[in-house]
């Protein structure tokens, strides 16, 4: 040590030292940005820079195997895991105002004090110590492998057991909540919350479902005036009220309708469930495409195009208004969902933030065909009915003409 101290000048950095210093500056700056940025995803990406910089530092210290392990494990998997975590906890994409907690100033004081003390002590302690980087690499893969499998075999194997335990633990942790969801009696707190929540909402849900059903009546009557699909409109509105009624049943009896409540509350909750809520509607697309035209579009067209109301009715109602409405009425969760978005929908979604208006609207529309949702149904109905009726229309025209 004294020898190396003699051969090195204290302030005459070598090329490796300069490279180390520069990469170290980049690493440290990236780490600082990681812990201070308010954009959560950016924090994860700056963490990539910091960890990659550390891999370069390992290379400069001739520890090549560890450098590549660092790249593989940290940059490759840990950051990806963190990004997954950010997405699954629905972290805001943009700037999040509450990324830092209130004790930020105290944390800054503690960190600066610790940094000052550590840097001072470390710099003072190793002021005259040099690492000899010449000669064969101290951390080449050969050396690391030999020492690992000669001297460190038992810890190495124990580590595999630990990784297995971590694997199983992670799976158990993420599975358990799902099992609780499936069994309504699983968690008392979760259940009471689920009970508390839905009855508060369906009330507006009914209110919205009924008026919208009335609103739906108007175009229906227009259609009825031009041709005479009277039953058409009647049926297309009835299911809506059925839906509203079934939400009543689903929620007014807190004792029995718990599964329905829970599944009704869940979708509004997280985006994934929303999507799955929209999906049943997408499955019944045939129904929807038939049912919605029956409500506004198709009945009118049928009325305009020809007087043959019979076939249009059969096509629209027989399949759709009855089948689809019944089916969705049989699925109380769907009705609850349909009624609620229509009800307090937009405002809630605003609070929800990222619940993707489009998706929820879709969910509302899908079931909106039952008779409610008024504007949003019409809005997206125009989009989707634009193609369905035309395809339906052609054979009709052909049949009539």
């Amino acid at each position: 040590m004294t020898l190396s101290a003699a051969t090195h000048g204290f302030l005459s950095p070598t090329g490796v030292e300069i490279a180390f210093l520069l990469v170290g500056l980049v690493t440290f700056a990236a780490a600082l940005v990681t812990v201070t940025t308010r954009q959560l995803v950016h924090a994860a990406l700056w963490l990539v820079v910091a960890l990659g910089g550390l891999a370069v530092e390992y290379l400069l210290l001739t520890a090549e195997f560890i450098a590549w392990v660092q790249v593989l494990i940290y940059v490759g998997s840990v950051v990806v895991l963190l990004l997954f975590g950010l997405m699954l906890t629905r972290a805001p994409i943009g700037r999040s105002p509450d990324a830092d907690s209130g004790n930020r100033r105290a944390a800054l004081v503690v960190a600066v004090a610790a940094a000052a003390a550590l840097v001072w002590v470390v710099a003072d302690a190793f002021r005259t110590t040099w690492i000899d980087l010449d000669g064969p690499a101290a951390g080449s893969t050969t050396v690391t492998g030999a020492s690992l499998f000669q001297n460190w075999v038992l810890p190495f194997e124990a580590l595999s057991v630990l990784l297995l335990a971590a694997l199983v633990g992670a799976i158990v942790l993420s599975r358990k909540a799902k099992a609780d969801e499936e069994h309504p009696d699983g968690r008392a707190s979760g259940r009471s919350r689920a009970d508390r929540q839905p009855p508060a909402r369906p009330t507006p849900g009914q209110d919205a479902a009924r008026p919208s059903a009335d609103r739906d009546h108007a175009p229906g009557q227009d259609a009825a005036r031009s041709s005479d699909p009277g039953q058409d409109t009647g049926r297309s509105t009835d299911p809506g009220q059925d839906a509203a009624r079934s939400t009543d049943q689903g929620t007014d009896r807190p004792g029995t309708a718990r599964p329905a409540d829970r599944s009704a509350a869940r979708p509004a909750a997280d985006g994934r469930a929303d999507r799955s809520a929209a999906r049943p509607a997408a499955d019944g697309r045939a129904d929807r495409s038939a049912a919605r035209p029956a409500a506004d579009g198709r009945a009118d067209q049928g009325a305009d195009g020809r007087a043959a109301g019979g076939r249009a009715d059969r096509g629209a109602d027989g399949r759709a208004a009855d089948g689809h409405a019944d089916r969705s009425a049989a699925r109380p969760a769907a009705d609850g969902r349909a009624a609620r978005p229509a009800a307090d929908g937009r405002a809630d979604r605003g609070a929800d933030g990222r619940a993707a208006d489009g998706r929820v609207d879709q969910g509302a529309d899908g079931r909106a065909a039952d008779g409610n949702p008024a504007q949003s149904a019409d809005r997206s109905a125009t989009g989707r009915t634009a193609d369905h009726p035309t395809t339906d229309q052609r054979p009709d025209h052909g049949g009539v003409r």
């Binding site: 180390f20 440290f28 780490a31 990681t34 812990v35 959560l40 924090a43 963490l47 960890l51 550390l54 390992y58 210290l61 520890a63 392990v69 660092q70 840990v78 895991l81 975590g85 699954l88 906890t89 629905r90 972290a91 990324a99 907690s101 004790n103 944390a107 503690v110 960190a111 940094a115 550590l118 840097v119 470390v122 710099a123 190793f126 110590t129 040099w130 690492i131 000669g135 951390g139 690391t144 020492s147 690992l148 001297n151 460190w152 630990l162 990784l163 335990a165 993420s174 358990k176 909540a177 979760g190 919350r193 689920a194 409540d261 829970r262 509350a265 909750a269 997280d270 809630d348 609070a351």
Partner: protein
């Protein structure tokens, strides 16, 4: 190479991670800061192992072996930690560690639960629990 360079960089990175752990609210950001601290320790281990492998007669390359172990354990830790964070987020509707005060001492029982009092968070919570 001067041993102070990696040592000082390691100390700075560690304190950066320390600041992140103390100042961040999002649990995942805290996990990121923990990763930074672990990496600082790894850098120290590697630097001192390279130094000792030249100066000391017989080393088992314990620094590098322990670095590998630390990396593996950190990977396991981040997996478990994220699973816990996701479970908490599912149950509570938040990954904000400032709001998880169930075991905090000196909590006023009359004080309304911050999760249920704020309507926005209550809705969030219902989403997560239901």
């Amino acid at each position: 190479m001067h041993l102070a360079y990696p040592a000082v960089l390691s100390a700075l990175l560690f304190c950066t991670g320390l600041y992140g752990v103390l100042a961040r609210r999002n649990a995942i950001l805290v996990l990121m800061s923990v990763e930074l601290m672990l990496n600082a320790v790894n850098l120290n281990l590697v630097a001192f192992d390279v130094w000792l492998s030249r100066t000391a007669e017989e080393t088992l390359h314990s620094g590098q072996a322990l670095t590998l172990f630390t990396i593996a354990i950190a990977a396991a830790e981040i997996g478990i930690g994220l699973a816990i964070v996701l479970a908490v987020h599912r149950n509570r509707g938040t990954a904000d560690i400032d709001r998880l005060r169930d075991t905090a001492e000196g909590r006023d029982p009359d004080e309304p639960d911050p999760e249920t009092s704020a309507p926005g968070t209550a809705a969030e919570k219902a989403e997560a629990t239901a």
